[in-house]
């Protein structure tokens, strides 16, 4: 079946089964490889994208339920000052080891800072607990989130 979805500000048309998870539409139909497959069950968060600004696990979200919601992926997160700030903070803290989870981490972090401009450690724990990092770069992720939030507050 043909679906029209709005991804990174563009309407895209795909012909897939209605139960196809958004992740596979993004990755294999639209060739947006940033969102990653880690578990297929919402346990790891590597597939995190924004749906109307809120973080969702795209691996468990069937395309037929996306409707006209606006999807943002890691490929476009740098188009906002906040998203760019998060990416910059990730580089400033040299967060990345293997890097596989980091797109999902950044998407969760950007959504957190948007709703909690000055996140506490407890806010970070709650918002990021669904994003696994097998290399365990959590300490640098936490520091980067605080820096990015601080920069976003200053810039506002």
């Amino acid at each position: 079946m043909v679906y029209k979805i709005k991804v990174n500000g563009r309407v895209r048309q795909v012909d897939v089964d209605g139960d196809t998870p958004l992740l596979w539409v993004l990755r294999d139909s639209l060739e947006l490889k940033g969102a990653k497959f880690g578990c297929g069950a919402g346990f790891c968060g590597a597939c995190t994208v924004h749906l109307n600004g809120a973080p969702i696990r795209s691996c468990t979200r069937p395309i037929q339920t996306v409707g006209d919601a606006s999807i943002t992926t890691i490929e476009a997160i740098g188009e906002t000052a906040l998203g760019r700030g998060v990416q910059r903070a990730w580089l400033d803290h040299d967060v990345v080891q293997c890097g596989y989870c980091q797109a999902g981490q950044i998407m969760s972090a950007a959504a957190l800072i948007k709703t909690h401009p000055q996140p506490t450690d407890a806010d970070i724990d709650a918002a990021m607990a669904g994003n696994l990092c097998r290399c365990a770069t959590y300490l640098r992720i936490r520091a980067a989130i605080k820096d990015a939030a601080g920069a976003a507050v200053k810039g506002a």
Partner: protein, 733 residues
């Protein structure tokens, strides 16, 4: 076939980010990237000075990084070494992943924390050779002696006249000169290092944070199909039959076929391949697939069965002697105090976050392969042998790996993809799901140690006996189920008896980050803690006494262990952690030390245990000695922190349970990785000693599990002798 590489950004120079390093207000390391310079000049064609170096007319230097990048930071670290000796600005450097080419690069692999010790000197010489050629080119141009020329930041300067020429200008001429003898090139004095020892952010990180396709799973080959591969849940099981026609009838499914495999668990195994237009279609079609399996002999094996058998075997004489110093049994008989304990640890999975995958195009007798692998050369050999191709006709492109941890030292998924592509007659991307990954791993072997030690009247350790029950057939250990006779504290005790008894095991085993030591450290460093308490001594003081005076120990042919380096890190971590402070009941500090993969690491854990048994790790202090140079300090700290948190996760909750010959875990609900709320602060310091630089991928991991268990003992009086930790057993009032 160049297009797919372009889609990965692998054949273009990585756009480098320029870094500044300074001390943050809090004393931490601050790294700032100026820009991923999209607008920066491309490297252009340039000329190659050797397999590693290409210099463009504009001075941009492209350095090939020869080993796979699995998150250990080698794609940054090895080029740093070359760039240092070449004497260029890091901002002028672009880095590319080298091709798999043993003629040009020798051995290319990621494993055993070996890249630094094996490549430190050779990579320095590669860079120095490039600099020597550029200096020669300048000296010839000016008709002056080479000795009058100096280099700095990509420029050769003639001292007496003050004339300068850039490397970019000199590159063509330099490339026409004979390559110097690598053994004779002169190397920099380390005090002049400008890149080595200075933190550089991961060279691909700007691409990672932008979501660029870098990983194996991201590869696109024009016209490729997608595959899944169903194997018998019981290890080594064979396909009897399958309802292929039901599956091939599904819309979007192109081919379904049985693959006959061999007997080697790390080669091609029996299974059913489903090839479809999309991975989702192939994955869904698995639900229709019904396979009749011949499960084979492993179906009778289980974790519980192995544990029961280990206890039976512990009562029998050891089957294989690993060390026999002095007369341990006599010393135990004569000891003032004897302590006995049994330690056990489970199978563990690697669970790389990027599931196993490989894209293969095997047509016309040639194979082209894109894979996240730690051993591309071994993979090419396996594919050639299994598919009946000439090794020269197999090309393996190394992609970035979404984690390695030892899992990708086996290329089972590579040979599966190659076989499926060969049968399908089309390029195919094989992707495993998480269940495939957890159920078809090469697990860290479970193990059992039946330990007995003797103390003399002064509390000195005088005898050590370990009956190690592990896996293997006859006299041959299963992969990574072995132990050397030199594991700490062997060689420090006059009476030391280490024996192993091997049980047959059909479960595939293999190396997991810090293989051997990740488990042995738990058993031995926990038992040493028991001995310290039995001797009425402080655990740090007891270890220092055991180490004795600073000296190298080990016979010819053995790995040398330096007690001075061990003392150094133990003393440092005690100082860092404020060791010895009195803590209330329910809180405790524990220490662990291990010598693993040439690195000396001592760690202290501070933990809190709630009366109902819940554990909170509050902080970990890490002191490490990996030699005279920390090549990339930010990378080394990241590795140490990650390894420590990885080790905590293993101790706190990881276990692969085998039932009826198969692993029971199917996803991250059953195999638990550490999450953000559990990630405690980890403070890392390195002690620089006058020793050759060694690797960081592994050695920080082993001490943390026993340090945690020893902290739990200090907090509660409960001794943890089995991993993962059973919190229900830690209740206290």
């Amino acid at each position: 076939m160049n297009k797919p590489l372009a889609s990965l950004g692998l054949d273009h120079a990585t756009r480098r980010a320029f870094l500044k390093v300074g001390l943050a207000a809090g004393g931490g390391l601050l790294i700032s990237f100026s820009v991923p310079l999209e607008a920066q000049a491309e490297d252009g064609e340039g000329v190659s000075l050797n397999a590693y170096l290409r210099i463009a007319p504009n001075g941009v230097v492209t350095i090939a990084s020869k080993n796979p990048e699995i998150g250990q930071g080698i794609k940054t670290a090895l080029p740093m070494i070359i760039a240092e000796e070449l004497d260029v600005d890091w901002s002028a450097v672009r880095i590319v992943q080298a091709a798999t080419d043993s003629k040009a690069y020798g051995s290319q692999f990621a494993g055993g924390s070996t890249a630094t010790p094996l490549n430190w000197d050779p990579m320095r010489r590669v860079g120095a050779a490039g600099r020597a050629m550029l200096v020669s080119a300048a000296a010839q141009t000016w008709a002056v002696p080479e000795a009058e020329c100096q280099t700095s930041a990509g420029v050769v300067r003639h001292g007496p006249s003050g004339r300068t020429l850039t490397y970019g200008t000199l590159a063509s001429k330099a490339a026409s000169l004979p390559a110097p003898d690598l053994a004779k090139v002169s190397l920099k004095d380390p005090k002049d290092f400008k890149i080595i020892g200075h933190s550089k952010g991961g060279v691909d990180s700007p691409l990672v944070v932008a979501g660029k396709p870098l990983f194996g799973i991201d590869v696109i080959v024009p016209g490729m199909l997608y595959a899944v591969y169903e194997k018998c849940p019981v290890f080594g099981g064979k396909v009897v039959s399958a309802n292929l026609s039901d599956v091939v009838a599904i819309k979007g499914v192109r081919k379904v076929f049985i693959v006959k495999g061999g007997e080697e668990l790390n080669g091609l195994l029996d299974g059913v391949a489903i090839v479809a237009d999309s991975w989702w279609t192939a994955s869904k079609a698995r639900k229709t697939l019904k396979v009749v399996w011949d499960e084979g002999p492993t179906a009778s094996q289980s974790s519980a069965g192995f544990a029961a058998r280990a206890i039976e075997l512990s009562g029998q004489p050891g089957g294989k002697s690993l060390r026999a110093d002095g007369d341990t049994n006599a010393a135990l008989t004569g000891a003032a105090k004897v302590v006995e304990a049994a330690y056990a640890y489970p199978f563990l999975a690697h669970a790389t976050l990027e599931p196993q995958n490989c894209t293969a195009d095997v047509r016309g007798g040639k194979a082209e392969i894109w894979a996240p692998t730690q051993v591309p050369q071994r993979g090419a050999a396996l594919v050639a042998k299994t598919l009946g191709l000439a090794e020269a006709d197999v090309t393996v492109h190394m992609t970035r790996c979404g984690g390695g941890f030892g899992r990708r030292l086996n290329n089972d998924y590579m040979v599966e993809a190659a076989k499926i592509s060969q049968v399908a007659g089309a390029p195919v991307k094989l992707l495993w799901n998480r269940s495939d990954d957890l159920r078809h791993d090469f697990y860290r072997p479970a193990g059992w140690h039946f330990l007995k030690a003797g103390l003399d009247g002064s509390g000195k350790l005088i005898a050590w006996r370990d009956h190690f029950i592990t896996f293997g057939a006859a006299d041959k250990f299963a992969p990574s189920a072995d132990m050397s006779g030199t594991e700490f504290p062997a060689r420090l005790i006059d009476n030391c008896l280490i024996e192993a008894t091997l049980m047959p095991c059909g479960v595939p085993t293999g190396p997991l980050r810090a293989p051997g030591s990740n488990a042995l450290s738990f058993a031995f460093q926990s038992f040493i803690d028991e001995l310290a308490h039995a001797a009425g001594k402080d655990p740090v003081a007891f270890r220092l006494e055991l180490l004795g005076a600073p000296r190298p120990i080990g016979k010819a042919g053995e790995l040398i262990f330096d007690t001075g380096r061990a003392r150094g890190v133990i003393e440092l971590v005690a100082q860092m952690s404020g060791w010895g402070a009195a803590l209330p009941k329910g809180e405790g500090m524990g220490v662990g030390f291990y010598f693993s993969h040439r690195g000396y690491f001592a760690e202290v854990v501070k933990a809190r245990v709630a009366p109902e048994g819940r554990i909170t790790v509050e902080k970990v202090w890490v002191a490490g000695d990996i030699g005279s140079q920390i090549i990339n300090p930010t990378g080394a700290e990241n590795q140490a922190q990650g390894a420590v948190l990885d080790g905590l996760a293993e101790a706190l909750g990881q276990e692969i349970v085998i039932e009826a010959g198969a692993a029971t875990a199917s996803n991250f609900d059953g195999f638990r990785l550490l999450r953000m709320p559990q990630a405690c602060p980890v403070e890392v310091r390195f002690l620089k000693t006058d020793n050759p630089p060694t690797g960081m991928g592994e050695p920080a991991l082993p001490p943390v599990a026993p340090a945690l268990c020893n902290a739990i003992f200090a907090a509660t009086g409960h001794r943890v002798r089995r991993l993962p930790i059973d919190t229900a057993a830690l209740k206290w009032t």
